[in-house]
Symmetry: C2
Subunit: 457 residues, 2 copies
């Protein structure tokens, strides 16, 4: 074995102790909310058969799938003439499996494979890494966590409303309060394309309108024209783009605007029902913003569409989702309606970091460290240590009789708040000297007193 | 997109809600213990550069690494003539990355890359999946979780002793009490090979002796002979193989047996020190069994060796580890001694399942479900639901006004212990009818009373 300077694959990261504490803080908050709402956890394998993954994410997605080389002699199906036919031709001969690209397709596969054992409606949450061979850049990684909750097997709009409640609960728990949950309905977009005179083109309308925030209305008009929308159709969109007012005012306008579209009116009425259910919960519409140009470009949404934006931070969009009516159809199970959403954990991490919202008590390290000068101190310290842990306190002993400064340095760097140094006095008096590293105060206590002080701090 | 019957890659598994609850029960118990002992969490990427992984696990390990096909045109470095040279020749041209094979090598890489920021001694735990292209068989998977704790940067034997304490704490918390923590020391094995007249052959001695449980002493003697051990050397081993008695008696015998081996005596004295420290902790030697033929075949152990066996179950060995003196040397950082161990989560799961030791309250689903007959009931139910969650109870409402039987069926299958059906009476009286699904009892209560009953149950 030669000596190497090790490195990480590009687009991947280690999460050291300080980062793990912060990530767990976010994930624990989200998990607690999912559970409070009756969602149950699922985990699927990191690898899926390429037949399950391919064709589900569009051509670009297929390119971004990480493929796993077949084990053993991966060349056994490759002939000389195959090489000239290119990578796409050779791929199925050398790779059968790929890494999970999102949590939605594996979830659909799980539902189909376990349809006879699952109690529907099935409320599941899933928190696992996914992999994409994207070009790495700031805030975009090749391995990152997704954090999804979905209900399948019901079209009840209670589910949509509960998504609003879950998002608000998580954000409140994380101390985030300047954000908007944008909500729209795919049927409204369908209705709009009908009433402007471009029926059946809501897909293209979505793709173009989705860019409104980034490129502005003028450029969106150009794109629509390029996509074959007529000038007078595009003109008819203007009041929609300019739409102002509170949720009820916008709904009222849309009802009028979409009067000729049955589908569009259905979208409006679904959205109204969500607001009605919200009121029945005894909850207000705070943070909830009906955004008629929210499209999210994803063709599989059929009803509600959500997106959460945190205001005044560099990375805005931290959560999104929607209702789909045919998630499992591609695997042969038709008619399963569902609605789901996803928290972007990495982005929430960056937002909390940017806003300074992580709790201060960060390292989640031991509550107390025992130090000592000599073997006699160690022996006494080990018994104290055992008692501290039996009292439920995370505790450790410095493993060597090192210089006192070194021992304190260790506690300091690990952000351990208390140190007990064991010397002859402490042993003789059957007490411990408890030093608070933040204040620098040190006092002699009985062990019971010291445990009480540490627990109360 | 054509319709497919989806399947899972062989050797991989989904973990549905019931399994996740049980897995989390095990992992939470282990995590709590690691934290109590001052260990901090680390996560490393699923992918590592093949240069980091290759050559660390022996030839067989290299074969079992899952390799990831380079993104884009993976054939661009492959020429026609390469094909004839075989898979091993082509591999480095088509794959640069592989999936994590264990947690030890990524940990060593992390330590080396972050040596200037880490506070030593560094106590880390890591719980993540690993992947091996093993032939799948009962109890052996291609994706499985490892659960490691290591301390690096100290050779204090307090660390070895704390491993014994952590194992005992985890097993006690899981209700496991018929098991042995076998402990040995690599230096004792070195000493034995010296005093039987085969110095320097402790590696081969370990490999052969490691099979004692499986193939018996007779076959081990044959294997030793094949490996070039002389007959009289093998004869000298007999009293070691037959060694009986408690830990102190065995240590006394070994001191005598190894009198001529400095290294062997050092091993004995390290083991004695571990027992001394255990006593200083105020702890007895329960479950701890000095096993002079424990070898674990792993060449990188240099001091203590551990293995935990649960008695009277089909899968015995559920945890193991040891001390190593040169884990990071291969990455250019010499002289970092460490000791670590690993819990086999899948095996512990199977053992608890076999022994019926999982807690009964299994599904970790909602504590209460609200049902209703009509829209009026739903409206009232939604307010009740909101109050239940605000009181911290996991709760859900059946999303549709389905038949009562269907609603109860759902609660039953999800093992939800309580149901509140909302009818006109409940609304008129401002009460809820709380049904205990286990006993079948149903009583009217105020909401506050009902919350109290559910919380107390």
């Amino acid at each position: 074995m030669s000596i190497q300077k090790p490195s990480l694959p590009k687009g991947t990261r280690d999460f050291g102790p300080a980062q793990m504490v912060r990530r767990n803080y976010i994930l624990d908050t989200i998990k607690a909310t999912f559970r409070l709402f009756g969602y149950q956890q699922l985990e699927t394998p990191s690898m899926e058969n390429l037949s399950v993954l391919t064709g589900k994410y569009g051509d670009e997605g297929d390119q971004l799938l990480f493929k796993i080389l077949n084990s053993g002699d991966f060349l056994k199906k490759v002939k000389g003439e195959d090489l000239g036919k290119g990578a796409a031709h050779v791929l199925p001969k050398v790779a059968e499996k790929g890494l999970r690209y999102d949590l939605t397709v594996p979830f659909a596969r799980y539902v189909v494979m376990n349809r006879n054992d699952i109690t529907f409606p099935f409320k599941r949450y899933q928190i696992q890494p996914v992999w994409r061979a994207d070009r790495p850049q700031k805030g975009r990684y090749r391995e990152f966590y997704q954090c999804d909750a979905d209900v399948v097997g019901t079209d009840s709009l209670i589910c949509e409303t509960e998504i609003l409640l879950m998002i608000r609960r998580v954000f409140a728990a994380l101390g985030l309060n300047n954000y908007d949950i944008k909500i729209n309905n795919r049927k409204i977009l369908t209705g709009i394309s009908e009433v402007i005179g471009e029926p059946g083109k809501e897909g293209e309308l979505c793709v173009a309108i989705d860019k409104l925030d980034k490129i502005g209305w003028e450029k969106v008009q150009e794109e629509l024209a390029q996509r074959g929308f007529e000038g007078k159709s595009i003109q008819k969109l203007t009041p929609i783009i300019d739409l102002k007012g509170d949720n009820n005012e916008k709904l009222a306008y849309l009802k009028d605007f979409l009067a000729e579209s049955e589908e569009g009116l259905k979208g409006v009425s679904e959205l109204e029902e969500v607001f009605t259910i919200l009121a029945e919960f005894g909850e207000n519409q705070e943070h909830v913003d009906f955004d008629v140009v929210l499209a999210r470009g994803l063709s599989y949404y059929t009803g509600a569409i959500f997106e959460v934006k945190v205001n005044h931070v560099s990375i805005g969009s931290v959560s999104g989702g929607g209702r789909y009516d045919n998630l499992t159809g591609v695997f042969g199970l038709e008619g399963v309606s569902g609605v789901g959403f996803s928290f972007g954990v990495d982005r929430i991490y960056d937002v909390l970091d940017e806003l300074g919202l992580f709790p201060e008590d960060d390292m989640h390290s031991s509550s107390v460290m025992i130090g000592y000068f000599d073997e006699k101190g160690r022996d006494y310290g080990l018994k104290v240590l055992n008692s501290l842990r039996k009292a439920g306190l995370s505790a450790e002993i410095y493993p060597d009789a090192a210089k006192v400064k070194k021992q304190f340095n260790y506690a300091d760097k690990k952000q351990i708040p208390y140190v007990m140094m064991i010397g002859d006095n402490e042993i003789a008096e059957h007490k411990v000297a408890l030093k608070n590293l933040k204040t620098g105060e040190q006092e002699m206590h009985t062990l019971e007193e010291a445990i009480g002080i540490i627990k109360a701090s």
